[in-house]
């Protein structure tokens, strides 16, 4: 009995002694500080390993799509950057790799080729002041191998992939051929065709938006390569998946106006292709939204804009946009019909128009009701002058028939009265 107790006691004490030691097994074979230093230095080596630089598929805010940026990391903490937006030239500036929840790559000296996308206000008026493209210039390195570097934007979370550019590729030539492909694939109205079903797409910057039967919009950002349109993520539609529509001139189909149009197939799924229609301006103005601007407006329209601007200013407001088109994306059912829609100091409103088009280049507009705050601004803020000028029959002219970036409405009865509306969103047009 004594022996049992003794052994029992000894075992308990031994167990106790074992439990009291503070040693814990290491999970990693090295300390974290050493591991991050190693990771940073390995990442730097990978970045410098591409002899002709990396092709960065750069995405800022998803609404604007992707842009080609090329960067070469040199040995002396500098990086040379070029992009397709600024057609030629490049700039060499400082970069750093440091620790910030993992390895952080930071372009910390101003370089217009990469910081264009982070400027709160960029020279192209993309985005609103304070956000611009919504792009990052500091990236968490998610993974880095000689074939691919995956980056995650630190502030906005954009996911960007870098692949080494072919050693003999010319930077300018790459960007130029992407531009040529984009021009060749540029139309005003697109469709994805799956089997015998056609899905109409709206395009804005480098995104396509498909609105399903429930009225739910799905936006697919893409980048343009010399070979075609490559989506940021594979898209699933009607049971099919596609990700890269390659440009070719091999397949023709007919559009709804019986014109010959090209069909561009996905590289890995022969069941779907991208095509377009050659939309007459009178239909385009009805289908797609256009933004008003004082540029390309006649004297009477300019005076009407001034009256509206003063009207809003008397409420202490700035006009965010003036828009002509179908239901603008953020508004409710009050804007369901085609018409004039506006944003002033946070308030939105609409004046709906009856829209009749007798031929491809003629429309007759008749205002007939207000929606949202439309009535208030019409009566109290001088918006009535703009509306009265939009009443009548107009001749439409465009900058090009394929994919107009603007449409000019010239009053048929009085050709000295005209206004130009733009496909790309224009914020604060009168500031």
């Amino acid at each position: 009995m004594k022996k049992t107790i003794k052994i029992f006691f000894a075992l308990t004490l031994a167990a106790f002694a074992g439990a009291c030691t503070p040693e814990v097994d290491d999970v990693f074979d090295d300390q974290s500080a050493i591991r991050i230093e190693k990771a940073i230095s390995e990442c730097d080596d990978v970045l410098k390993s591409a002899p002709n630089g990396w092709l960065m598929e750069y995405y800022g805010e998803a609404d604007y799509g992707g842009y080609n940026v090329i960067c070469k990391f040199n040995g002396d903490n500098t990086v040379t950057v070029a992009n397709e937006v600024y057609a030629d030239g490049s700039a060499t500036t400082h970069y750093k790799l440091e620790q910030s929840q993992g390895v952080l790559l930071s372009f910390d000296e101003y370089n217009k080729y990469i910081h264009l996308f982070s400027e709160p206000k960029n020279p192209f008026n993309v985005g609103s002041a304070g956000t611009g493209f919504g792009g990052d210039f500091e990236f968490r390195v998610i993974s880095a191998t000689q074939d691919t570097v995956k980056l995650g934007g630190k502030k906005h979370g954009s996911r960007i992939i870098m692949t080494p550019l072919a050693p003999d590729a010319d930077w300018d030539e790459y960007c130029e051929s992407a531009a040529v492909t984009e021009a060749n694939m540029s139309w005003s109205t697109y469709y994805v065709v799956i089997g015998d079903k056609q899905y109409m797409l709206a395009q804005s910057y480098r995104t396509f938006t498909y609105t399903d039967e429930a009225g739910q919009p799905h936006t697919w950002p893409y980048i343009v390569t010399p070979e075609g349109i490559k989506f940021h993520d594979p898209v699933e539609l009607d049971g099919e998946t596609f990700s890269y529509f390659k440009y070719s001139e091999d397949h023709y189909v007919k559009d709804k106006y019986d014109q010959d149009v090209l069909a561009w197939y996905d590289e890995s799924n022969a069941n779907c292709y991208l095509t377009y229609e050659i939309t007459p301006p009178s239909i385009l103005l009805y289908q797609k939204g256009f933004y008003m601007s004082p540029e390309g407006a006649s004297e009477d329209f300019l005076a009407a804009f001034e009256a509206a601007k003063s009207g809003s200013a008397s409420e202490g407001e700035k006009i965010g946009y003036f828009y002509l088109g179908p239901n603008i994306k953020d508004s409710g059912s009050a804007f369901a019909e085609w018409g004039f829609q506006f944003w002033s100091g946070g308030y939105v409103g609409a004046i709906s128009f009856l829209y009749e088009s007798s031929d491809n280049y003629t429309v007759t507009l008749t205002p007939y009701k207000t929606g949202g705050n439309g009535g208030y601004y019409y009566n109290k803020c001088g918006y009535n002058t703009v509306i009265s000028l939009l009443k009548g029959t107009f001749t439409l002219s465009v900058d090009n028939d394929k994919n107009p970036s603007w449409i000019r409405l010239t009053n048929a009865a009085n050709p000295d009265s005209y206004v130009t509306v733009y496909a790309n969103e224009i914020d604060y047009p009168f500031e």
Binding site: L13, S106, E109, Y110, H115, S118, G130
Partner: protein, 330 residues
């Protein structure tokens, strides 16, 4: 008794295991103690900011020292160099000249951070330079400096701030003097009499108080000064020290009692209140001058600084700004 022996043996074992040391790995330090790679500009900053004044001048973007709620871009090196030279000549050396370098070393901001773009808020308005708790000052819009058009406004206090070329006084030097004043008054306090001169402050509503339309007529040197007495003190100091005689007289000339038409709800168009002889009432001017007097006394007694001497030096150095060579390091 035997159990006590066993207990002690077990305890000894446990303690022995617990006491085993983890010595630091002296052979593998992650801290690189070799000198960092410094460019010519870095060496110039070391020589002109860090060594004499213990100031860290950051021109490269540093996310940890920036406000995450705004989207901004880094500054160009060319403009950073120019601004570093300007700040040294017009701001730092002014205080050194009048008070001495020990004063600057003890009281100045410790960190300067440059940012290339402005900070836009949601209403598309621009935020001025910011200063955090007397340690760091952040200066914006560095990339918009036109090195061929260096402009320090000495003629028109009420010139629009958005007009180009950017007025360096408004966008940089004024803010730095203002924030520096806060550092000093937090170290040594000033007379509470100051608060009694214009006791009705606007607090958060100061954003609606126009400099020329309203503030001056109530006895506040600027709209921001009307927010609360501490800001009033710092604004009095910063405005006086950076205003030429022409500007100062322009301000005092505006300091009459005003009334407003009924439809002037934003009080932008003041109408002078006239007395029986058709004369304007300049009592706001007396309030401004009384406050200035307290500022002057404070600086003389607490810091041994003659406010007018400092002003003369600041104005002289501001005028010299357009003649500085802002591109070479020397």
């Amino acid at each position: 008794m035997k159990y006590i022996k066993y207990t002690f043996i077990a305890l000894f074992l446990a303690l022995a295991a617990a006491c085993s040391n983890d010595d630091p790995d002296y052979d593998h330090s992650i801290f690189d103690s070799s000198a960092p790679l410094r460019t010519e500009f870095d060496n110039w900053l070391l020589k002109n900011y860090t060594m004499p004044y213990n100031i860290e001048f950051n021109y490269l973007y540093n996310d940890k020292l920036s406000d995450n709620s705004y989207n901004v871009v880094p500054a160009t090196i060319e403009n950073s160099l120019a601004l570093a030279k300007l700040i040294k000549h017009v701001w730092l050396d002014a205080y050194t000249e009048v008070v001495g370098d020990t004063f600057v070393k003890e009281n100045s901001f410790r960190v300067f951070q440059l940012i290339g773009s402005p900070e836009y808020d949601s209403q598309a308005s621009i935020v001025l330079g910011t200063a955090e708790g007397g340690i760091q000052v952040t200066l914006f819009r560095v990339n918009e400096l036109d090195l061929n058009n260096i402009y320090v406004n000495q003629e028109d206090f009420y010139r629009s701030h958005d007009e180009l070329p950017l007025d360096l006084n408004y966008w940089y030097f004024h803010t730095m003097h203002h924030e520096f004043c806060h550092i000093l008054t937090q170290t040594k306090d000033y007379s509470t009499d100051f608060q009694t001169i214009t006791p009705k402050y606007h607090s958060r509503d100061w954003v609606n108080v126009d400099d020329k339309g309203q503030a001056i007529h109530e006895g506040f040197i600027t709209g921001y000064a009307s927010s609360e007495y501490n800001e009033d003190f710092a604004e009095m100091y910063a405005v006086y020290v950076t205003s030429s005689d022409e500007e100062w007289n322009q301000i005092l000339d505006q300091a009459w009692v005003a009334k407003y038409a009924d439809d002037d709800q934003y009080q932008k168009n003041p109408i002078p209140v006239l007395d029986a002889d058709g004369e304007k009432d300049y009592s706001p001017r007396e309030l401004i001058l009384a406050k200035l007097d307290i500022v002057r006394t404070y600086f003389a007694n607490s810091w041994g600084i003659d406010l007018d001497d400092l002003r003369k030096v600041v104005l002289r150095r501001s005028n010299e700004a357009s003649f500085l060579d802002l591109t070479t390091l020397n």
